[in-house]
């Protein structure tokens, strides 16, 4: 299952396509099943069959199943029984839920704080490079190609809380520390965000860089001729041109960080004292952590609640940002 850390695209409707829609290559006035098959309809269906089968079985059916399972009690031994809204009630009454929501919001917020402006600044600097841009790009993207599990386990050794841990040793050279990193509720989540930023910021930098370099430099030239200072150029030309990319990467990052699982699971298993317990980790615990069998219904219910929240959030976000764009 690939996470959709997607790239924004502009929506283009080529004019030729519109015209052809009218022509509609394969439509005939009177279609019987035979003419449909003979005119290539069957081939068409067969060609799209892989997509239909794969999506049907592994995307659309599970989505529907989540809704159904959230209203059932499933234990994989007996057939599922309908329990109405019981699962939702269990989830909402779970004392861990507010903690998980708070932690997830904290993670998303911190990740946005670190992972949004810093890559932008780096990209701006890199877009000014006349030579060696490739070197910078390679360096910045290198952490992204490291498998995430390796990155987390590597940083786990860095985060050793004793004064002989790698980070504590380095900080000790300048008289700071030793810090507890993952061993204290107050520093655990920031530690996670630090590693997550390291591992993912490079991709964002490259996206910004591509967007920055596609801005027409004649605009800047013209503004300079008019006497605009650096900051005014950035504010009035760069940012508006980049607005689409910036807004889309922000919402995509929020959606991705809202579903963070790997870092809390591998670094701290949700600890210490549930300070890194995220919503997805809670879902995982409902479904898979009880040695006597999982509560799949609650897991499905919480998944649905999270998805609903993200959907509403995205709609609100799009509505708000659209009103900004049309200024």
């Amino acid at each position: 299952m690939s996470a959709v850390d997607a790239i924004p695209g502009e929506s283009t409707t080529p004019p030729a396509a519109a015209a052809l829609r009218e022509a509609d290559l394969w439509r005939r006035p009177r279609r019987t099943p035979l003419t449909w098959a003979r005119s290539g309809g069957l081939t068409t269906l067969l060609l799209i069959l892989p997509m239909l089968l794969v999506f049907g079985a592994f995307s659309w059916y599970p989505i529907v199943q989540t809704v159904i399972m959230s209203l059932q009690s499933t234990n994989l031994v007996d057939p599922p029984t309908w329990v109405g809204l019981d699962n939702f009630r269990t989830v909402l009454e779970d004392p861990l839920l507010p903690k998980a929501i708070e932690n997830t919001a904290y993670f998303a917020g911190l990740a946005l704080l670190f992972g949004y402006p810093i890559p932008l600044a780096a990209a701006v600097l890199m877009s000014e490079l006349r030579r060696f841009r490739g070197v910078y790009a390679t360096l910045v993207y290198l952490p992204v190609v490291i498998p995430p599990v390796v990155a987390v386990l590597l940083w786990k050794t860095f985060y050793d809380g004793s004064s002989a841990g790698a980070f504590n040793t380095v900080l000790g050279w300048v008289g700071l520390g030793p810090y507890p990193w993952l061993q204290s509720a107050s520093t655990a989540m920031p530690s996670l965000v630090l590693e997550a930023t390291w591992a993912n910021a490079g991709a964002t930098v490259i996206i910004y860089l591509a967007a920055l370099t596609s801005v027409n430099s004649e605009l800047y030239e013209a503004a300079s001729v008019d006497g605009a200072s650096l900051w005014r150029k950035v504010w009035h030309i760069t940012l508006p041109q980049l607005r689409g990319v910036l807004l889309v990467t922000m919402i995509l990052q929020i959606i991705a960080t809202a579903q963070v699982f790997l870092e809390p699971y591998l670094f701290t298993s949700g600890g210490p004292n549930n300070s890194t317990l995220t919503v997805l980790l809670l879902i995982y615990n409902y479904a898979f952590a009880n040695s006597l069998g999982g509560d799949y219904g609650s897991a499905a219910a919480l998944s649905l609640m999270l998805a609903a929240f993200l959907a509403v959030f995205s709609l609100v976000y799009l509505r708000l940002t659209r009103s900004w764009s049309t200024e």
């Binding site: 098959a37 003979r38 290539g40 069957l42 081939t43 067969l46 069959l49 994989l76 031994v77 004392p95 050793d160 809380g161 004793s162 004064s163 841990g165 030793p178 507890p180 993952l182 061993q183 204290s184 509720a185 701290t268 298993s269 949700g270 600890g271 210490p272 004292n273 549930n274 615990n285 898979f288 952590a289 009880n290 040695s291 006597l292 069998g293 999982g294």
Partner: protein, 458 residues
């Protein structure tokens, strides 16, 4: 038209491929008439090649003696979070291990095969320790597992660190006050953690906290069955937590990392970074198999008990069970394997010697302290059989082996055990990582959570 023909051919090919897939998928894996194949839990992932070789030796011996049975070893480790997934996905080997805590519940739910007939047919059935057998018997009298081993909690200590800290390794602590003092001394003189306690949120933190509570005379549950009540907020648990709090924050004798689970703490101990810690009496095997421990540093003693009638040492154990979907041939084969690999060496001299010789040849530990599965007499007898082959430092283990039988053995909380432990995990973590942890409040919350989980599991 060409394209229609081609389309039709494609359709036929695709359909027949799909049909073949479905047919292949629904065909059961059939065993031939003569041989039965069973998969069995072997070793923990990451065990040394020597340990793996030794296991394969045993398999070969068994297959030679039972030519109609084929045994396939599968790496296996029971942990709270992973077991359920394997159970649901039906990927457990035919023969697998479960702790005492879960076996009865699983048996009652029909998730373990009913082995009553095969087990009652074993020659030593009547000699099995009734308390141990009870852990494998459901409320309705079905026997669903055989005991693999029973353990009592013990205090393991690093003799080398003791010496370095100026302590006498042959005089391990006998009171909790001494544990605290020794830990402080070790931390001060060697810089290593003097005393360490498991703090991982995979139920092990709660398990050890329960152990300490028991040693002070407290209990986590009262009553049984549907009327069981959670008593996590008992005074002894509070005392235990305060003791850890003092050692952690005042004495600073617990090091700086607190998220150790069962395997991690063994690894840290073998690497010489831990002065003392509590775990099952049988961990020496893992210390050798996974971490290649230097035998000279290992020492073990009993956990100090308070002078109270209710104080005792937490006892647990592992059972070996069979998948519920095994047919009768597989069940018979499975019980034969369990008998051969786990139990026979405790009752038959020749088997005991053969097993010991094989372990020694592969540099695996023989003579690790264990608790009797039968009775003390049988236990002593079996130990005399393997005496020439014992390669573990028994003298260093004497503080434990000489005193454990005088200690009262207490079974783990009976209802929703793992869930109770899980509720305590976060309490331990809070105390270890937050100087201002409010112990009373944390215990109260944990108690409510545990009570709720207990109610839902019955």
């Amino acid at each position: 038209m060409k394209s229609t023909h081609r389309a039709a051919t494609v359709a036929v090919v695709v359909t027949s491929l799909l049909a073949a897939c479905v047919a292949g998928a629904s065909a059961k894996s059939s065993s031939s008439q003569a041989t039965v194949t069973i998969s069995v839990a072997s070793l923990i992932p990451g065990s040394t090649p020597a340990a793996v070789k030794e296991f394969e030796n045993q398999v070969a011996q068994f297959e030679k003696a039972n030519p109609s049975i084929k045994v396939k070893p599968v790496e296996y480790q029971w942990t709270g979070p992973t077991f359920a997934a394997k159970l649901a996905a039906k990927t457990l080997p035919t023969v697998f291990e479960v702790p005492f805590t879960d076996a009865r519940t699983l048996g009652e739910r029909g998730q373990l095969a009913d082995l009553t007939r095969e087990i009652k047919a074993l020659p030593y059935f009547s000699k099995l320790n009734p308390a141990v057998l009870a852990e494998a018997t459901t409320a309705r009298g079905k026997i669903v597992a055989l005991p693999k081993g029973a353990y009592a909690q013990a205090l393991h200590y690093n003799r080398k660190l003791f010496t370095q800290a100026g302590l006498d390794p042959s005089k391990p602590p006998t009171t909790w006050a001494q544990i605290r003092a020794y830990a402080k001394q070790i931390a001060e003189r060697t810089g290593k953690a003097g005393y360490l306690q498991m703090g991982k949120a995979d139920n092990t933190a709660g398990w050890i906290l329960t152990t300490v509570t028991y040693s002070l005379g407290g209990r986590m549950q009262s009553g049984s069955g549907t009327s069981a009540r959670a008593t996590l907020d008992n005074p002894q648990t509070a005392t235990a937590l305060n003791l850890i709090k003092t050692m952690r924050w005042t004495d600073n004798s617990m090091g700086s990392n607190f998220d150790y689970g069962w395997s991690d703490i063994n690894q840290a101990f073998a690497a010489g970074n831990v002065g003392m810690y509590i775990s099952g009496s049988d961990v020496y095997t893992n210390l050798v198999q996974a971490s290649n421990i230097d035998p000279g540093i290992y020492g073990v003693t009993t956990i100090p008990l308070a002078k109270s009638k209710t104080a005792g040492v937490l006892g647990g154990g592992t059972l070996v069970a069979v998948r519920p979907d095994a047919n009768s041939a597989a069940k018979a084969a499975a019980v034969k394997w369990i008998d051969f690999y786990y139990v026979r060496k405790l009752v038959t001299k020749s088997q005991a010697i053969r097993n010991a010789k094989s372990l020694v040849a592969n540099k695996q530990p023989v003579g690790v302290p264990a608790l009797p599965l039968f009775n003390k007499k049988q236990y002593d007898l079996a130990n005399t059989w393997i005496k020439p082959y014992i390669n573990v430092p028994t003298a260093q283990m004497a503080p434990f082996t000489s005193r454990i039988f005088g200690q009262k053995l207490i079974p783990e909380p009976a209802v929703a055990t793992q869930s109770v432990y899980h509720s305590l995990d976060t309490v331990v973590q809070a105390v270890l990582t937050d100087r201002n942890a409010n112990i009373a409040q944390l215990l109260q919350q944990a108690n409510t959570t545990a009570q709720d989980l207990m109610r839902r599991s019955t």
